[in-house]
Symmetry: C2
Subunit: 308 residues, 2 copies
């Protein structure tokens, strides 16, 4: 069995940490959104890559879902005293990752190679790949103008009204080494329960990736990030509403219609099942909210049944 | 009164922190060695500048003399887990300074301007200037080959036998903005009790600085870094011995003979007084060891008397 997964941050990390409990981690290749990446104080920060790797290594902060467990913020406090903007909360231990990554980028290593080094040090056995080694920063178009993603998401707390998205220079981006290969080799492809606009869409926009999904003979399965008209985490529901879409799993399924074989819908939304099926895909009902480890593993089992 | 001081690290920091207790800090301009500066994990580190500024701000680690009081080392521990060399001990709060500096260098600011920003944030009123905005890394020539200074000093703990020093690209270096001006405007110039080979010599080697001292009408006074044949801190005595020089204050006085008006010698070395006087300079005896605040201020008063 070879599974490739397209992943954003916290929601994806939860599903994937369940999945590696029931499969051999080496069977899973995780392709991660890097549109949220940004530079801060000269340091190159990859929030989704770090959330996935910290979670799979079992060292993520369980309360926030991002950052490291029991981290401290002394360096950031000091930078604040030096007059720096410190709205992005980076812990002392977390910053080691960013210094490490930035240093090795400066030495000429690619993001894929650096991510592999970090994952090796964290003893993560499932390969984690950035979607591209290039820089393709997501810009959120809003009624207050264009905002770099973290500016919209963290600093402005998703308050400006969204009118669209730009994935800067994505047409020139190349899939990172191993990305197309893992999609081509996969028996099954999982679209994690991540924000379709800002986590999955950037991955699909990297030239070659969406085509690889469309032409794949592997079973492609998505797990809903929307339950009962709400996002489990983050601004997905708000974005659907502001983009003039129905705030439901149907809209998400429609965004993946051209390549999806099966949609894992939350039980609470069972009445949407016929509408999603009418898009030409199978529908499976599951309890998709993961609050306990048991729920996580149970969902992973359901997903695994869909994939095989 | 306008005083300019040439300074290395810990010894200089102690004398200067005494001096600003008895004069208006604005009367003192401190010109600091940057030959020890180095890059580590992409971060630009200026040990002497930081030791001076942390000490004058009252936040230096009182035990080591360098680094910050009550600092933690969580980031460094994490980098060690990622497989990085962590022989240079950088604390979490200390690293904020290096990230800040590196970021602003990357933005095109000069080291002088960045140092001013840091000192402003630390509310240090005495201007602190790097000797140059350029990069002039000190190389220690040893029987084991050429070693970058921190490699010799921290990693190898001064064990290789020294045969000489190279101040890389120093001939092309320019004094930092304000350096020659402060020397020209000074009524008095202080050579701090710093290592003559690796702290003071690099400053003097920046084109224009030694000439400014030679031609200055200001009184130029040096405080001995050698007491009773030993360095108070660091490898000065060992270097004198390995370079085939007499291990005493006389050798230091000789290195400054061409511009020095007065040498502050430790009382314990009073028998050297005639030999130093014969070099054509005044000699003043003082208790130069600074273990308590009282000793520091007492020495500062003696120095001040020499300077005026």
């Amino acid at each position: 069995m070879k599974i490739a997964a397209l992943a954003g941050g916290v929601g994806a990390a939860r599903v994937l940490s369940g999945l590696i409990e029931i499969i051999h981690p080496e069977e899973l290749t995780i392709i991660v959104n890097t549109g949220d990446d940004f530079k801060w104080m000269g340091l190159y920060i990859c929030p989704d890559l770090d959330t996935i790797s910290y979670t799979l290594a079992g060292i993520a902060n369980p309360e926030t879902g991002w950052g490291l467990r029991d981290d401290t913020f002394r360096l950031l406090d000091r930078l604040s005293q030096l007059g720096c903007d410190t709205w992005f909360k980076l812990g002392d231990c977390d910053l080691a990752t960013h210094i490490y990554r930035t240093h090795h980028l400066g030495e000429g290593f690619g993001l894929t190679a650096i991510t592999r080094k970090i994952c090796d040090a964290l003893q993560i056995r499932a390969p984690i790949l950035p979607m591209t080694d290039g820089s393709v920063p997501t810009i959120v178009r809003t009624d207050e103008g264009d905002l770099p993603f973290q500016e919209y998401f963290v600093r402005r707390k998703c308050t400006p009204r969204v009118t669209g998205f730009t994935f800067t220079a994505i047409e020139q981006a190349q899939p990172a080494p191993g990305v197309l290969e893992s999609l081509q080799a996969a028996n099954a492809i999982l679209i994690c329960p991540s924000n379709p606009f800002i986590s999955i869409a950037p991955i699909l926009a990297v030239p070659g990736i969406r085509d690889a999904l469309r032409s794949s003979s592997a079973r492609v399965v998505a797990v809903t990030p929307i339950i009962a008209g709400q996002a489990v985490k983050g601004p997905a529901a708000r974005m659907l509403e502001q983009m003039g879409e129905e705030v439901s799993a149907v809209s998400v399924a429609r965004m993946y219609q051209d390549f999806l074989d099966e949609f894992v819908l939350d039980c609470r939304d069972h009445e949407l099942s016929p509408r999603i099926a009418s898009l030409g895909m199978d529908v499976r009902l599951a309890a998709t909210l993961m609050e306990t480890r048991e729920q996580k593993v149970q969902l992973a089992r359901t997903i695994y049944e869909s994939l095989i």
